[in-house]
Subunit: 237 residues, 2 copies
């Protein structure tokens, strides 16, 4: 049993009879009998902020499902600066590269406390032999990742700093209902998401606060006016 990550904490092992993964979209449609085909343990992993699930170039034989928390996928530029390529949240899958025998393409690093299912690819392969529908689910995940990548390219690399930050806030807040208070990330990370420096992000957020689009709730939590953000994101005004 090789370590998946230096920082990973093993919560235990399960055959998913109790695991939330059982209800994850990935395994929807599987029947009780199918779980009998699982001969390798599916593991729970807990990560704290800044801890890595895997590193770029590592070869892994697990794919992962995020049950809670937020993970960033990071790539690096020749000059050493980092670029956040995507965020994963609740019920997203990552590490799909392992399914096609590729090394991981990013550093996967927790931004918050995270709970993760680690599924051996052998399990996937064995299950999918009896349940081709599983392939369909995997392809859906892949497509989601691709669509997300395209969004990041178009939304977060074009327009003014104001617009990019507004779009980022919109996307971060869209999972929350109403104008629910939203915990932000470090300015450095936010900069790496939208291709700006920490100072510029800080300035943009400060301005949004001054204009009342954001309202401070302490410890980097903001309540935000989604309508106003939408206007700014689409560059009117």
């Amino acid at each position: 049993m090789q370590p998946i990550s230096l920082h990973a904490i093993w919560l235990g092992e399960t055959k998913c009879h109790h695991c939330a993964m059982r209800h994850s979209v990935l395994f929807a449609g599987l029947e009780e009998a199918d779980f009998g085909h699982i001969h390798q343990p599916i593991k729970d992993i807990a990560l704290g902020p800044q801890e890595a699930l895997y590193r770029m170039q590592e070869r892994g034989n697990h794919l992962f499902t995020l049950r809670g928390g937020v993970i960033k996928l990071v790539q690096y530029l020749p000059d050493g600066s980092q670029r956040i390529v995507r965020l994963l949240k609740d019920s997203d899958a990552l590490g799909l590269e392992a399914l096609v025998e590729q090394p991981y393409q990013h550093d996967a690093i927790a931004l918050t406390d995270c709970e993760i299912c680690a599924i051996p690819i052998a399990v996937i392969k064995s299950l999918s032999q009896h349940r081709p529908r599983l392939y369909q689910e995997l392809m859906v995940r892949w497509q989601q990742a691709l669509a997300e990548a395209d969004i990041w390219l178009t939304q977060f690399t074009t327009g003014t700093a104001r617009q990019r930050v507004a779009r980022l806030l919109l996307r971060l807040s869209c999972c929350a209902e109403g104008n629910h208070p939203l915990p932000l990330f470090g300015r450095e990370d936010m900069g790496a998401m939208v291709g700006l420096t920490t100072e510029t992000v800080s300035r943009a957020i400060a301005e949004l606060r001054r204009q009342g689009v954001l309202r401070d709730r302490g410890s980097n939590i903001q309540e935000c006016d989604r309508e106003a953000l939408r206007r700014i994101a689409d560059s009117e005004e």
Copy 2:
């Protein structure tokens, strides 16, 4: 049988016994007997520059393999400007969205003369029932697309105009062997690829020419010094 594109020219129909697709990676490993399961025609499409294979939001029931030429995948910003999200060349697959019942996510527009295979998703589904290996191939394609998207995000949206253009030229020239002359695209398209205006791209290219990194071969064809480009791309000097 609904039209796939306004501009598409049907070259004919085939069951792939003669088609180059037969040798495409996608169908590698299939045996003669497998082709008997193909009950719907696989079609050849030819496109000229500026013609669209499909449009964003269209629902299609074909996926495509590019046998020759270059296609751009385009998305649009609220302000109407376009952003090229990826380029496809020789033997790349596109329109995979159709496999998961999603509308196409981009405009797919030919940049050069193109030859394309249009494969009904019904064919894929029927084939894959007997040949699960086909799923593996599809996942590889999906992974390639995702890796490409990440490269575009990190390479073409960061750094100075010089660097971005240099990286773009490198990537465009990497399929050519040696320092083979390279046909460029319109400045407008190149700008949409690296997130710059046409003027800035033009200036960057002009400067590279002045420095001898590019050598003009007429009609927008350049011979380029890959070593010098690499230095510039990695921001030394």
